[in-house]
Each structure stands twice: as structure tokens, then as C-alpha cells.
Symmetry: C2
Subunit: 301 residues, 2 copies
């Protein structure tokens, strides 16, 4: 039994197009309708046959949907939900893939009063953007976090859970506030720091940009990958998970100051103790299948 | 014409063992003698036939060498050079692979007065350590920076250059001070920041370590790779390139504070402008062959 015979995907970038491809690969009988605000993306989606149908308005895309998944930057969720409001079937489940959950839940509840809204967040992605960047196995073995409101119908939660499981994801249920805190440290702060250091390196007088690029294999290039992620998506994440991001940033800054002090006063033991501890965390991540053990991420040598 | 018919490698970890393998692969007629302070590493090097001979004392390893390469943590360079001093042939060239060049140049000059010392730094590596972690192609297409003192004999510099070129590296000549500044931003600061954030994530009360590990695919896992690098090697790097690291750290902290402020006051434009700029830098690194363009570093999906 298919959890949803008709699915609408609003936003056909990396994640939206990966959902489309994963649905086609795992549930070929599901009919997918897609929409994107950018006409060039709609054209491209049609060219590569991403969906069964791509519409020019969000309302048309959701008209007969059982599940509508919003795959747009978190700051755009409310507006696009509002646009499709009149055409939304009464029994449709509205979900999304955004990286902050409290702000999205609020925006959707405001735009779609009375609708069944179950926010979700598949913790997966790459630094690439656009409809060509997606792939069907993106969610395989990754976690998808659902943050249903307390009054969400159990049957709707189960259907959404089953949908993501069929795309290969493992499911976790969490409250939206806790989600935002967890993601602030595992995703938002790492992106913020990567963006910062790549910016810092770009502005040095004594060391040229060409030197930074040339010698980036010493570690810097690892940071540039996530600092190449979609600028609008990430702008919205920071603005919409402000409180948790600022809280984690404060803790990070304190720890960095402590390390700075250890370097200044030559406290080698403190450094070594920390560096052994961080090594253990890497080991756990690899053991739990959340990263590859291949040296250097398996880059070709 | 081989630049050096006999090469000694002191320290048989990731880099030393990669040099040994690369020499065997590219200059099979060169005789390699190796030494490591750790008896278990010496035994393992013998078992896997890393060198033509592995000796139990550093002096014995260098007795007939034309080139001696020190592949030990930068804080250990002076002591091991002192140990081999009595056995060093008068015409041998002493080099190293350390990630700081001023402190190593000073330590070697002090330990080996009158010797021909040409410090070097192949900008390459992985997060793995030990004699089994090395591989012959590690230096292929990577930069090797030589920092010869002003009075270094030209013929010695040329021979060392030719040696690294045969291992696949591209060569750059730089003064030691500038090297230390460039590497502080392209390698040392990224490692410091990665160690810090992984440490921060490990100490949160509200978010458990198991949650951090579970949801690390959101970006955090990228940082754990370089935070899994050799603790002693990195302790020594920070202590021996203190001035440049603290300088770069100061600039990074200022930039991070500016970004923090932009988030707090909702300045989305500032964020977006930076995020577009950092994306361009990633593009340049890929274009110049210093990283792979495969999404997500080419991790399997």
C-alpha cells in the first residue's frame, strides 16, 4: 500500500529533485506534480522528466495531492503556502524539508489554518544546488526527523513516516525546539564557521587569494565544500534559527578562546587531551555509518 | 640521474611511509633506510617491507645517506637531529616535512651546525596516522614548499626539488616566515577550528553526544575528519607556529563576531553577500585541481 498515491513537490532544487527521483525509484506508481518559482528550473525539470507534471502555479501543483512537500528556503515557506491555500485538498498532509522546524511550523500554521501540517527534515544534502544536483539515493541511511505538533493525527504521522522510510531514510520523532537545538550544533554552526573562515582567508593582505587556493589541501578545502552551499537557503536558516545558533556560537567562542589561551601560554597537554577526545568522536561517527572511513573522505589520490 | 641514490627516512608514520612508498614506486633503484622512535612502528615497517632496511638507532639509518628526511612531529625535530649528528655524512642534505618552517629551521640549525639544511613541506595528508596509512600517490599533484635558507647551495636546492618532483609534487620556493603565515590560514586555523567545534559539540548538556553523532551528516561530520588528525603532530604545530596562528585566529574571531551581529540584527543581505563570495572560492579550488568537484567530496551514496 502506497502511503500517498499523489505527491506534490514545491521547489525543485537539490532536495526537491532528490525527493522526486527517490519517489520514482522506490514508488514508481506514485504520481508526482512539481512546481518551482523559477521558470528556468521548471523548464529544466520538464526537460529531464523529473516529475509527471510540472505546473506554472503552486496551486495547480497541489490540487489533487495527498502529500505536499515544500522544498524551498525556510524563509519562503509561509508565502508559498499562502499561494497554494485555495487549491489545497482538505485531507492533504503538508510537510517540508527545512533545516529549522519551529519557524516553519509557525509560518505554515499561520498560512494554512486548519490544515494537517507535519514538518520534517531529512538530514542529508551536498554542496550542490539546482534540479540537476539531486539523486535518488540521497536519503538512504540518513535520518529524517519529523516534528509533528502535539495534536497531529497519528495516521498522518505514520503515513509520512512510511513515505520517508520508502525513500531509504531512518525516522526520528522530536519536538521542534529540540530539533532546532540539535541542528544548530550539527549543521548550522559548522556552516557558519565554514563560511566565516573562507571569508577570512579571502581578505588577507599578506597572504594572497591565489596562495590560499594553491595550498588549500592542508585542511582549508574541507571547509570550502560546505561554504559552497546555497546562499539563500543558508541565509534563511540563520535568520530563522537565530536563538539556537547564537547560543551554540557563544559556547564555541568560549571554547575557542580557551584554546587560544592554551596556545599562547604553551599548554601542550591541554591541546593534546582535546585532540585525542575529538578523534574518538570521529571514530563513533564512522562506526555508526554516518560517514565513510575511507581516508580523506575517499577523495581520489 | 637519480637526485639521491640513498635516502634516510626518520619517522615512519603517514608522511614518512608515504615518502618511502612513493620513492619505491618512482625511483626503485634508490636505497631507503628508515627509523622510527617507536619499536612497534619499526617492527611493522619491517613486516610490510616499507624500506630496504629499518634500523634501531637514527644514527645507523643516516650513515650513508645523501638525503635525510625528518618525518617526525615538529617539536621532535631538534632532538632527533641531535641524536643522529655524529653519524651524518658531511655532504648529506637534511630536510623535513613539517608544517611549520621557521621553528624547524632554527631547531635543525642549532642541532646540526654546518650541515646543509633545506626545510620542506609537502602540503598533503589524510586524517589517518601510522605506517599502514601511507600511500605512494599522496604527493601527486600537491604542492611541496621548500624554504631554503639564503645561503643554501643552489645545487642542493635543485636536487631536493627534483626529488619531490619525481614523487609527483609541484614545487614552490618561499621564505620560512611567509610559509608559516600561509599555512596558518590554509591548514593550522582550519584544524584548530575543527578541533574546537568537535570539542564544543561533545560537551553540550541539552544535546547528547549520541544525537551529535546521529545527525552529523548535516555538516558536522566534515569537521570531524580533520579533527581526527594526529594529536601530537598538531599539538606541536600550534605550539611552534604560535604567532601566525594567533594572528589568523584573531582575524577569524573578528569576522565571526561580525557575522554573529548580522544574525542577531537580521541582516540577511550581509549574510547572502558573504555566502556568494565563499562559493566562488570553492569554484577556484576545484578549477585549479586542488579538490574534487564530485558532490560531497565523492562520498558514496
Amino acid at each position: 500500500m502506497l502511503p500517498f498515491p499523489r505527491v506534490s513537490i514545491i521547489g525543485l532544487g537539490l532536495i526537491g529533485s532528490s525527493v522526486a527521483r527517490a519517489v520514482k525509484a522506490n514508488m514508481p506508481d506514485v504520481r508526482i506534480t512539481g512546481y518551482d518559482a523559477d521558470p528556468a528550473v521548471r523548464d529544466r525539470a520538464r526537460e529531464i522528466g523529473l516529475c509527471d507534471d510540472v505546473t506554472d502555479l503552486p496551486g495547480t501543483a497541489v490540487m489533487d495531492a495527498g502529500l505536499v512537500i515544500l522544498c524551498v528556503p525556510v524563509g519562503a515557506m509561509g508565502a508559498v503556502a499562502h499561494e497554494m491555500r485555495a487549491d489545497l485538498p482538505a485531507d492533504a498532509i503538508i510537510s517540508d524539508v527545512g533545516s529549522c522546524k519551529q519557524s516553519v511550523a509557525e509560518a505554515l500554521a499561520e498560512a494554512l489554518p486548519g490544515a494537517v501540517i507535519i514538518p520534517a527534515h531529512p538530514v542529508a544534502g551536498t554542496e550542490k544546488s539546482g534540479p540537476d544536483a539531486g539523486f535518488a539515493t540521497l536519503f538512504k541511511g540518513r535520518w529524517c526527523i519529523l516534528t509533528p505538533p502535539v495534536d497531529a493525527p497519528e495516521v498522518a504521522v505514520e503515513a509520512l513516516k512510511s513515505f520517508w522510510q520508502r525513500l531509504g531514510a531512518d525516522i526520528e520523532i522530536m519536538d521542534a525546539r529540540h530539533h532546532d537545538l540539535v541542528l544548530a550544533i550539527t549543521s548550522h554552526l559548522p556552516h557558519l564557521i565554514a563560511y566565516t573562515i573562507v571569508g577570512t582567508a579571502d581578505e588577507l593582505g599578506e597572504v594572497t587569494q591565489s596562495e590560499v587556493i594553491k595550498y588549500s589541501a592542508g585542511g582549508f578545502r574541507d571547509f570550502t565544500r560546505i561554504a559552497a552551499s546555497d546562499p539563500v537557503m543558508w541565509r534563511d536558516v540563520f535568520l530563522n534559527n537565530k536563538e539556537a545558533v547564537l547560543e551554540m556560537l557563544q559556547r564555541f567562542s568560549e571554547d575557542l578562546t580557551a584554546l587560544q589561551r592554551a596556545i599562547r601560554y604553551g599548554k601542550g597537554d591541554e591541546l593534546e587531551t582535546l585532540f585525542n577526545r575529538t578523534r574518538d568522536i570521529r571514530r563513533s561517527i564512522v562506526e555508526q555509518g554516518q560517514d565513510d572511513d575511507a581516508p580523506d573522505f575517499g577523495r581520489r589520490h
